[in-house]
Symmetry: C2
Subunit: 242 residues, 2 copies
DNA sequence: AGCCCGCCATGATCCAGGTCAAGGCTGGCG
DNA sequence: CGCCAGCCTTGACCTGGATCATGGCGGGCT
């Protein structure tokens, strides 16, 4: 950080100083005055895996930034069939602007830390800081691109291609600093086999079998069911099905 | 239209007066001055089914409003497998703000009429008229909701439920004035069997068989392969699978 | 007219992934 | 410690939808 930026940061609330939501997220659009106003209404939480954050068709009165961990967005049919329709990582903004109720469920997939704001404070910020609204707009478009990308995967790829595509996506999302052209990667799966199945529209047995196959073929190693080492990124890419 | 509105409309370009893009679309956010500026750069087209409007990964230098007809948004894997990831009806805005190139293909599914603008004109309008940008934001969120809704359908429903859900969606999209609680409906399918298959992640033979089944069960009638009459909306809803 | 081409329907067969079943591993808790 | 619950793996078998094949229908072109 340069001296110039240091001076500018003098008015920034302590809470926000090293916050992901400001560093790369929507709050980065706000000047110190706005941040002070918003920070007064903000509250931080840490929630355990499995905790429901927002219910489908539920009225929502707060929005949040994801500061760490992974949130899964799901939809469920009346007979229990479930589909994960999106994943959110830090510093994504969690919530549906311009609507009273959420069209989806949001649930912590891992330990998640959040910075929550009353809905009204966010609405005001969107009015007062056009660049803030614009960041939310941009995130919505990125999520739309991602949702459409996954429609192709869910609709048209084979089980083997789906699992490879998922691993590649996670490898690239978990640590965005990693060289995208790296030969290998290493990360903790944020989802159980069952969750991965709900994301890819498979059964957990099928996910398990495909992971076993990737392991047998020397593409990946798995420790403790969760920790994955990708030994051959190129091998993984070749299995994603164009 | 009241006298008051009549007076206000006096400065509106003739082209825009009865335009769907202004009536219910993004241009409704613009005042006469803005409309005049935008209309100077606008051009209207009519294109035949099958005409490619935007290519995947192609640089785009114009945006459009859909004034009539249906546009399909597709993604294709390198080996030709295709998925329709969205449909656009009047008065949807066609184009990806904040990006040089489109992440998807857009193709006319029916005869489509468009009102196109140079990209720069739209970018300027987003700066000058915050309410215009907000409308585009809202449309993006509606498209995101729709994409997620279809992820559930594509991923978790059976072939029979998929086709029923598709017919219901079309019945409700084609004529938005129709009573959503109506007992029956009547419309032209904007897509071929093959297109419907690409939308639902099925094969066209499967779509054909499911339509035959709905016909045999007295839920729908089909004339000329395209014109559908839904005799039992409730029967169709019951087959959508929650 | 006669031909071709795109679209659709339907039957026969196949197979990827779903379903059912059995067992292992790990961590929390009485 | 022993028990239980959640998660994972693997095997055996089944089935919904894909694939392959055949033919009909309608509209445009020569």
């Amino acid at each position: 950080m340069t001296a110039q930026q240091d001076i500018h940061s003098s008015g920034i609330p302590v809470l926000c100083l090293s916050c992901e939501g400001r560093h790369r997220g929507p709050c980065g659009a706000l000047d110190p005055d706005h941040l002070v106003g918003l920070a007064k209404t903000a509250s931080r939480h840490k929630v355990e895996p499995g905790v429901k954050l927002v219910g489908e068709a539920e009225t929502v009165d707060s929005y949040s930034n994801v500061l760490s961990g992974v949130v899964k967005l799901t939809k469920t049919l009346s007979d229990g069939r479930q589909q994960i329709v999106g994943l959110q990582f830090a510093p994504d903004f969690l919530g549906r602007p311009f609507k009273m109720d959420s069209p989806i469920n949001a649930e912590a997939a891992t330990v998640v830390s959040l910075c929550s704001f009353p809905k009204a404070a966010v609405v005001r910020m969107m009015k007062d800081a056009p660049e803030f609204e614009r960041r939310l707009f941009k995130q919505a478009l990125v999520e739309l691109d991602a949702a459409r990308e996954w429609m192709v995967t869910v609709g048209r790829k084979t089980a083997s291609e789906k699992v490879a595509s998922f691993l590649l996506m996670i490898a690239r999302s978990i640590d965005r600093t990693v060289d995208p052209a790296a030969k290998s990667a290493c990360f903790d799966l944020p989802l159980t086999r069952g969750d991965i199945a709900d994301f890819l529209a498979l059964r957990f047995e099928t996910v398990s079998r495909q992971l076993t196959r990737l392991r047998a073929d020397g593409i990946i190693r798995i420790e403790n069911n969760r920790h994955v080492t990708v030994d051959s990124m190129s091998g993984l890419e070749r299995r994603c099905g164009g």
